[in-house]
């Protein structure tokens, strides 16, 4: 493909479908003066929306029954003290208003879980994205041979079962016989009790999570990189730009939409940290690896405090919402 066709396409998309907005009959609607919304289908609006409703009704029903209803029920549950006793006799569930949320705000366990989760998201998330990008650059490089093989190898951890992987990683992390400490010992660094030391357990979990997940984002980055026009690099190279300058001024801006997608998806995924501590540490040592979702699981399914657990769920939802909005805002203001 040449530079000329590229510009042609661009031109075509900017112009849009010719003349349609102007020729369509304009409805006189005093509330709507937005000039961009001139185009209307030929059906009368009420009939059109009825037809649309008819087509989306099945999906709406399913979403309503299996998504909105449970969410509403959970919200209601979070305003009660539904617990083990209520499981036996629903009559013992009490409406407590926002008490669960107030108690949550004063629960050191919850703050600890929140700190742990924040640690995991703030350190693990960017690390995971960076590793994914690095791997994507490597497997996309012109110098790399057997690209397909490498992509498969790097993607393999994503599709393996976490529990099986965790067993192996527990051996790697073993304080005395683990491969990791042996390797450190070989270069003269004293080993660490990875899963037993409260200070190192979360880094150990992050290590596993990054290794397990980077392949997925790598594939997305590979797709993003494939969309960066080669001629930009050629032009930059002719202008004397080095590897770093090309990366900084071409790759990164061209990948901006990919970054947004990967960032949001990774953040949402990392906020939901659960399986890794569940199989590796059971939240220990000293609750250093209890995440918000793990706390929710404990409250809900270990202690059967469903009301409290639902409150945890909604707080987590709110946090993820805020996190996503912040990311959208940050990335939008990026040049």
């Amino acid at each position: 493909m040449s530079t000329v066709t590229h510009t042609d396409e661009d031109l075509a998309t900017t112009l849009g479908p010719p003349a349609a907005p102007v020729s369509a009959p304009r409805r006189t609607d005093p509330g709507r003066t937005d000039p961009g919304r001139g185009w209307r289908p030929s059906l009368p609006e009420s009939a059109a929306s009825r037809a649309a409703l008819f087509f989306i009704a099945p999906s709406l029903l399913v979403i309503g029954a299996f998504f909105f209803l449970p969410v509403a029920a959970a919200l209601a549950l979070s305003l009660t003290d539904f617990d083990l006793y209520a499981l036996a006799d629903p009559g013992t569930a009490r409406f407590v208003g926002l008490k669960n949320y107030v108690e949550l705000a004063g629960d050191p366990d919850f703050w600890q879980a929140l700190r742990n989760t924040a640690y995991f998201v703030v350190v693990g998330g960017p690390l995971s994205v960076a590793v994914s990008l690095g791997a994507a650059l490597l497997v996309s490089s012109k110098l790399t041979r057997w690209k397909g093989l490498w992509r498969t190898v790097f993607f393999a951890p994503v599709v393996t079962t976490l529990v099986a992987v965790a067993v192996v990683w527990r051996y790697l992390y073993n304080a005395e016989y683990g491969l990791l400490n042996s390797a450190l010992g070989a270069v003269g660094i004293e080993g660490v009790d990875w899963l037993g030391d409260p200070a190192w357990a979360m880094p150990a979990i992050i290590g596993l999570a990054v290794w397990k997940n980077f392949g997925y984002n790598m594939i997305i980055f590979v797709a993003g990189l494939a969309g960066v026009p080669e001629e930009l690099y050629e032009a930059a190279e002719l202008d004397g730009a080095g590897w770093w300058a090309r990366f900084r001024h071409i790759t990164v801006p061209e990948l901006a939409p990919t970054f947004l997608f990967v960032g949001v998806i990774t953040m949402i995924g990392y906020f939901q940290l659960f399986a890794e501590p569940y199989v590796m540490t059971e939240g220990g040592p000293l609750r250093a690896t209890v995440s918000v979702v793990y706390l929710m699981y404990e409250e809900g399914f270990k202690w059967w405090n469903l009301g409290y657990a639902s409150a945890v769920a909604f707080v987590l939802f709110a946090l993820m919402m805020v996190g996503t909005l912040i990311q959208l805002r940050l990335q939008r203001s990026d040049p």
Binding site: P58, S59, L61, V62, D81, D83, L84, Y85, L87, A88, T92, R94, N174, A175, E176, Y177, D193, L195, G196, D197, T281, E282, G284, P285, L286, R287, F301, K302, W303, W304
Partner: protein
């Protein structure tokens, strides 16, 4: 359009639900949940039972210990409980409060096979709530001391002292003869049993009929201070069990000279202490003072029948079969689990066994933990603050005050229910 595959799925799901318990004409299928090693090794006994009872087929479902508690609760919520289940005896109160269990009192009254007088009283008692029996002990479990007899002898102790003061002196003396960096006792800080057992020795864990925690009381504080003191003095390492990769090797090397653990470790110690195969022994838990012999926690597993079972008579036959002394002896050979009946101990020679004897003695002095649904959570809370104090992150009084506050919060609903009941 979207609904059709969904309905199809639903139909398949319902169809498979109906097909779950299919059986031959006239044959009763019992669903029996058993955990871990028991689930694995009980099969030969089940085959004997089936041979004796041609009309009954038993499906043993093996469950992992780590998640079975959640599974049972979920099964109850989803109305899919098994007919019979092995059951940690600290869970009985919880399931009984749910109304999930069948009252076994009338069954035992009629039974000739299950004789209450033959069981360890403290263990039997864990299954009794409000004067009714909800489970029959299947095997018993308690925690006692395992120790290196040679190291204790070298320090001048031919037997384990029976009071806490003597015990403390002995541990100090042992540390002097241990290799450098050794600890006289290992009490992993992620286990709730050690602080719980010491507490059971001096105090009631809850007060006012299980309405409030009793942890800041002088009685509990004495035990807690003893526990924390072991770490502060360097007699026990403030590490969790997961940090010790091979307990037996460390024991063999003399890095640890004693620990508080359960009966399954008799077999492990016999197999895995290779350098000092004969230099270890077991002893009951010492008591706080000379006049009060040490108690330990009444643990183990019971067999329960679920209220929702449609084959309770057959389920009871299985419980009776597994409760026969000769079957229990066989079960002990298969699993190493200790039988709950004195006659089984005597007939098998276990009561005179060098290592099991101390368990026999301790089982005569076991105390159940509070029989309320919140107990599991309270035990975990004790562990949390025990660990915080042992690691030096909280003082003893801070930890106990926080423990009381947490436990009182856990018991809030219970107080409300009790008060409501009292009002009528």
């Amino acid at each position: 359009m979207t609904l059709r595959p969904l309905l199809l799925l639903l139909g398949v799901a319902l169809g498979s639900l109906g097909g779950c318990a299919e059986a031959d004409e006239g044959e009763v299928v019992l669903e029996f949940w058993a955990m871990g090693a028991e689930g694995e090794k009980v099969q030969p006994l089940i085959e004997r039972f089936e041979a004796e009872h041609p009309g009954i087929r038993v499906e043993v479902q093996q469950q992992p210990w780590t998640s079975v508690h959640e599974k049972l609760l979920t099964a109850f919520a989803g109305r899919s409980t098994p007919d019979v289940s092995q059951f940690g005896n600290t869970w009985v109160a919880e399931m009984q409060a749910l109304g999930a269990l069948e009252d076994l009192t009338p069954y035992v009254h009629r039974s000739e096979a299950v004789d209450e007088g033959d069981y360890f009283g403290g263990i039997w008692d864990t299954n009794v709530i409000d004067g009714r029996l909800w489970g029959v002990p299947w095997y018993v479990d308690t925690r006692i001391l395992f120790y290196r007899t040679d190291l204790f002898a070298e320090a001048g102790y031919d037997a384990m002292p029976t009071t806490w003061d003597g015990w403390l002196e002995a541990m100090r003396a042992v540390q002097a003869v241990q290799p450098d960096g050794g600890y006289p006792i290992l009490l992993p800080v992620n286990e709730f049993e050690p602080p719980l057992i010491l507490g059971l020795n001096t105090a009631e864990l809850l007060r006012d009929g299980g309405r409030y925690g009793n942890f800041a009381s002088p009685a509990f504080r004495e035990a807690f201070a003893f526990y924390v003191g072991l770490y502060r003095e360097g007699l026990a390492p403030a590490t969790s069990g997961t940090e010790i990769s091979n307990l037996y090797q460390e024991f063999d090397r003399g890095r640890f000279a004693s620990t508080i653990t359960g009966p399954w470790n008799i077999g492990e110690f016999q197999r895995r202490l290779t350098e000092h195969p004969d230099d270890w022994g077991t002893a009951p838990i010492p008591g706080p003072t000379a006049g009060t012999p040490g108690v330990s926690v009444a643990g183990g597993a019971s067999l329960v029948i679920f209220e929702a079972s449609e084959h309770k008579a057959e389920a009871w036959e299985l419980v009776e079969f597994l409760s026969r002394p000769e079957v229990q002896i066989e079960f002990n050979r298969l699993t190493g689990d200790l039988p709950p009946r004195a006659s089984a101990w005597e007939a098998s020679g276990l009561a005179d066994d060098r290592y099991a004897r101390a368990f026999f003695e301790q089982l005569g002095r076991v105390r159940p933990t509070p029989k309320i649904p919140e107990q599991e959570r309270i035990a975990q809370t004790i562990r949390t603050y025990g660990e915080a104090a042992a690691r030096g992150q909280m003082t003893i009084d801070e930890a106990l005050a926080a423990l009381d506050a947490d436990v009182d919060r856990i018991l809030e609903k219970r107080r409300w229910l009790l008060d409501r009941e009292a009002e009528g």
